[in-house]
């Protein structure tokens, strides 16, 4: 399946942004409207928020359904399956997303 890098890297509307919570109904005040902002927030949000969303499958849903990047969603799903937690989760998530952004930015038209 091909994806359009510009589509994945675009900024989405406020209603479609990703909102970081630490638990049910507890919003941190941090959000991401693009994959670049998402990467930035991975560095900054409370680790509890990363764990909360990873194990609810929220990250992969947002990345696949809103940004349209099935590959990155699949990579994040595998991270979930490895049951990574704590700072290891933050580091691995950051690595996956930053690598994907780099690939998408150098891709000329479409990326696998």
């Amino acid at each position: 399946m091909t994806v359009s890098p510009s589509r994945v890297l675009r900024s989405v509307l406020r209603e479609e942004a990703f909102y970081f919570f630490t638990s049910i109904g507890n919003y941190t005040g941090q959000s991401a409207s693009s994959l670049d902002e998402f990467l930035q927030q991975i560095k900054e949000v409370n680790i509890k928020s990363l764990e909360f969303h990873l194990y609810r499958e929220d990250f992969e849903k947002w990345i696949a359904q809103t940004l349209g990047d099935a590959k990155l969603a699949e990579d994040i799903k595998s991270l979930r399956n490895m049951k990574v937690v704590g700072n290891a989760l933050r580091d691995r998530l950051y690595f996956l997303v930053s690598r994907r952004i780099k690939d998408l930015k150098i891709a000329p038209q479409a990326s696998k």
Binding site: G25, Y27, G29
Partner: protein
């Protein structure tokens, strides 16, 4: 005894009628008249006037949803907002059917308090994440899910 509230004067008979209606809104004019030892036409006039003045806002049924077979959870949200957007956020919250009560309060900072219902935790979270968090001016949200209610009174009548 006359008590003034927001420019409307209520006498002791009005308050007694209100108390009885508050206890049971299905009391007839005659039943209220008998309890207060006044004519049912007097009760009718008082109620008509208080309805027109908006003192009696509506008559409603208190439904035990669990007995009715409906599962639902109730949560209390504290929403920290940009003070400039506070009124607008409160108005928008009030439009959602899931939101039962909205108020603003001030301790160390101005916050909006809201009582919200949902079928389950997943739906509650989805509602907050997709409908409340994206509102412009929402800074953060704290939510507590009510586990047990010890008292629930719509509006206590303390004249």
């Amino acid at each position: 005894m006359k008590i003034k509230g927001q420019g409307v004067s209520l006498d002791s008979l009005d308050w007694q009628v209100l108390k009885l209606l508050h206890e049971n809104a299905k009391f007839t004019y005659t039943e209220i008249g008998n309890k207060l030892d006044v004519a049912h036409s007097t009760v009718y006039d008082r109620i008509q006037r208080m309805e027109k003045q908006g003192i009696i806002k509506k008559y409603t049924a208190v439904v035990d949803l669990q007995k009715a077979g409906m599962q639902q959870i109730t949560a209390l949200m504290t929403i920290h907002t940009d003070p400039k957007e506070s009124e607008s956020i409160a108005s928008k919250l009030a439009e959602f059917p899931e939101v039962l009560e909205v108020s603003s309060s001030f301790s160390e900072e101005l916050v909006i308090n809201a009582k919200v219902v949902a079928q389950d935790q997943a739906k509650l979270h989805s509602f907050i994440a997709h409908s409340i968090a994206p509102l412009p001016g929402v800074l953060r949200i704290r939510t507590s899910i009510i586990t047990k209610c010890f008292k629930e009174e719509a509006s206590p009548l303390i004249p």
